[in-house]
């Protein structure tokens, strides 16, 4: 099967945790840490789902999402956004920008795994 997930995140420990969780579920997990180049990487990799951190060096997750949604090819790509800021305004902005799912850190492992599974199934 081997569904493809791209994780855009700069915190090494969190990368390790998410990679562990999704790999165990059978996902192919690629990671990218730099915000500035994230969109190019996503275009090139064409993942089934993107897990996107909100605060990234170079370019914020919100800007990356907005850029993706502007591209017709990626308007339906499931994007799960994770944020450590957790303010109501951030959620609104993200939903406006077209996020598929929005979660605050710290997250429950089960929720992340379930969300990824649901989003991919929904997209199909």
């Amino acid at each position: 099967m081997g569904k493809h997930v791209l994780l855009v995140e700069d915190e090494v420990n969190i990368i390790e945790a998410i990679r562990f969780l999704l790999s165990r579920e059978g996902w192919q997990v690629d990671t990218h840490s730099d915000g500035a180049t994230a969109v190019d990487t996503i275009r090139a990799a064409r993942p089934d789902l993107v897990v996107l951190d909100h605060m990234l060096p170079g370019k914020s997750g919100l800007d990356i999402l907005t850029e993706l949604r502007a591209d017709p090819d990626f308007q339906t790509l499931p994007v799960l956004m994770l944020t450590a800021r957790g303010q109501a305004r951030d959620r609104e902005q993200a939903e406006k920008a077209g996020v598929s799912r929005f979660m605050t850190k710290p997250f429950s492992n089960l929720e992340v795994v379930t969300a990824v599974r649901d989003l991919v199934q929904l997209a199909q």
Binding site: E11, E16, G86, T104, F107, S108
Partner: protein, 893 residues
Amino acid sequence: MASVNLLVGVSLIYVTFLFAIAFFAERAAAKGRGAWLRSPLVYTLSLSIYCTAWTFYGAVGYAARSGMEFVTIYLGPSLVMIGWWWALRKLVRVGRVQRATSVADLISSRYGKSNLLAIVVTVMAVIGVTPYIALQLQSVTLSLSIFSAPDAGGEVDQAIAAFWVAFGLAIFTVLFGTRNLNANERHDGVVIAIAVEAVVKLIALLAVGIFVVWGIAGGIAPMMERIDASPIGEWDMDRSRWVALTALSAAAFLALPRMFQVMVVENEDERHLQIASWAFPLYLMLMSLFVVPIAVIGLDLMPAGSNPDLFVLTVPLAEGQVGLATLSFLGGFSSATSMVIVATLALSTMVSNHVVMPVWLSARAEGAQVSGDVRNVVIMARRASILMIIGLGYFYYRFSGGGAALAAIGLISFVGVAQFLPAMFGGIFWRGATRWGALAGLVVGFAIWVFCSLLPSFGPGVVLSVGIFENGLLGIGWLRPQALFGIEGIDPTVHAVAWSLVLNTTAFIAVSLVTFPGPLERLQGAQFVNVFDHSTQARGWEAARATSEDLMVMTQRILGADEAQTLFRAEAKRQGLDGSLPEPTQGFLQNLERELAASVGAATAHAMISQLVGGASVSVQDLMAVADESAQILEYSNQLEAKSHELTRTAGKLREANQKLTALSVQKDAFLSQISHELRTPMTSIRSFSEILRDTEGMGQVEKTRYASIIHGEAIRLTRLLDDLLDLSVLENGQVSLRYEAGRLSDLLEQSIVTAQAASTRSMDIRRRHVNEALVLTTDLDRLGQVFINLITNAQKYCDADDPELVISVQQDGDELSVAFRDNGTPIPDAARSVIFEKFARIGDQDGSGAGLGLAICREIMARLGGDITHVPAAQGNTFVVHLPRRAALAAQ
């Protein structure tokens, strides 16, 4: 026998002498050497114009006819003078303060500058006084005829003599009464001539008296015997006449226009009144001393039917004392002329000011173009009035035919002018008096006087028919001129005095009570009645100072005490009057007006100054009220303005505070957002890995250990973050307490390096120059060490060189000690340099173990220690320099 020609010659010499005296007095006054002209003695003597020919000749006649009653004529004025403190003082003060020029001026001024009143008073005065002037002319010609009578060849045409006397008096009065028009209407020449005449008439009367007592009677004792034997000593005293006549003479003394002229208008100094209060009664006493002896001897000596009014002349003549008789004639001449001069002067002032000038002014307003100085017009009006009044007196004398007894005419005149008294003194003592009340009183009193006193004096059948005397006016019984309201049997004089004054006063009070005074009347009334409250004793040069004081008081109320005093002091200095008040010169007044205008407006300032200086219609007290009021308003508006300023300031502060709060709120939001991120990130790892550890079965030991150590590391990171946050918070709030102690810089660096290296996994070459570090510091060593550790740790953490190297160098530069930490890593980009000391500022994507608070903490610590920390830009490596002030750094030991 003395020829008339000789007498005329003597008279001419005497008149020339008077002209000369008056001339020199005027000249002396003009040159400013006339102080002696204004002595209390001259003032007292000038009051003697009360003693006219009527008193000089008539008193003896009066005594011969009615005994001691003549004394009442002297008693009234004496009482007024002795009691000067109660009535006369106030009259003089009011007259001076108001600059009243005449009785008419005073009354009109009191009742709101009513010219109608002034005209009424003027007309009454002219009508009342003209017979009196005629009487003086008559007395002079009568006395002349006495000398000529025995000499049939030198019969004097009395009418021609009267004309020349009148002409001479007119010339004198015009010359000395209208020489100049000074504001205070004073006439030095006239006054001194009157004073000389007063002395002449006193000496003449005393000489005749002494001659009679010692020359004829043979001493005091025989004289007393002859008086006892004479019918004069027997006659009873009619009390009602005594009271009425004393009151009448007192009233006339106060109300006569000529008395007002010498007593008030010509008054130089109010203190003269004090001396005159005893000196004038003394003069009157001397004048009356020999009246009874002369009358008694005259009655004894002269043939029956002789005119007792002329005993003063005829007794010496009968005894062959021509010289004495001539002196006596001069005395009578003096009495007559002085009265005519002053009375004419007083009346002409009234006529010209209240009748001629208003008419001329209104005529001019209607288009009659008259160019030139108004002063000339005034002088011309004054001269015309003088000629007119003396002319009136002359014609009255010519056509009344004389005949009536001197004293009778005098009394009638007294009753007439006494009608002014209620309006004058009511105005001075009663604020409730009104214009209409004064007018009513004057008209009623005047009418009764004309009807009951003046007209009957011509005798039944002359003006008033016999029928009116017997049956009353229009046949109405109670309108009989000598028995008003049917009350009969009263002495005609008492009748006239009582009815005229009682009804005058009643009408005055009653009408005053039912009418209301106008605003100007009210102000004037207050100023008259309260004259002692707010008029300063104005005399001579002190008059100017008094005005300055008023100006000062007013200025203080408007500008405030300090500013007013500064202003006045500066002006006094400029005038060379250091230490006293400045003279109110034109320049000063203009300056003052400008200053006041700044506070109260130009119009008000001008009004205030002109009222104060001009002494015009608004009283000082009222002005003060206005000034107080505007001062209060000013203060109130100042307060309002201050409050408004304060409000604006408060609003500004609030706006500022609000902006600050908004900025703070934005900062707080950003900070909370940051904190949230910094806290949630490690917590995310901790939660995630702890769930992995919990939920994953059959996990290898290696993995377990790895994940547990991640959790452990993140927990430590979290703790350190919290520690830093608290530390920073304490430092930022200034709540940190510093512990100063002395320590070696080298030791502190050593410890810091050891601590930093122990916490780091990366090794780094650290180089130092120990010689420079041989310093003893007095500072908070722990805090400074914290800064050092942070810098060394940062260098270890972020230096990306292959062979990381840190050079620590110490430099002592004057007041400053600096410790530089220079590594060989990639320099921080310029854009980032400005934020590295801000909270949560982290550069690049390094391992993220720091929360970005380290440099912020360092900066706060250095600020607390009185120094700072900077990042020095360089092409190679990064250099952080810690500066410490010298006072914390002591020299090496």
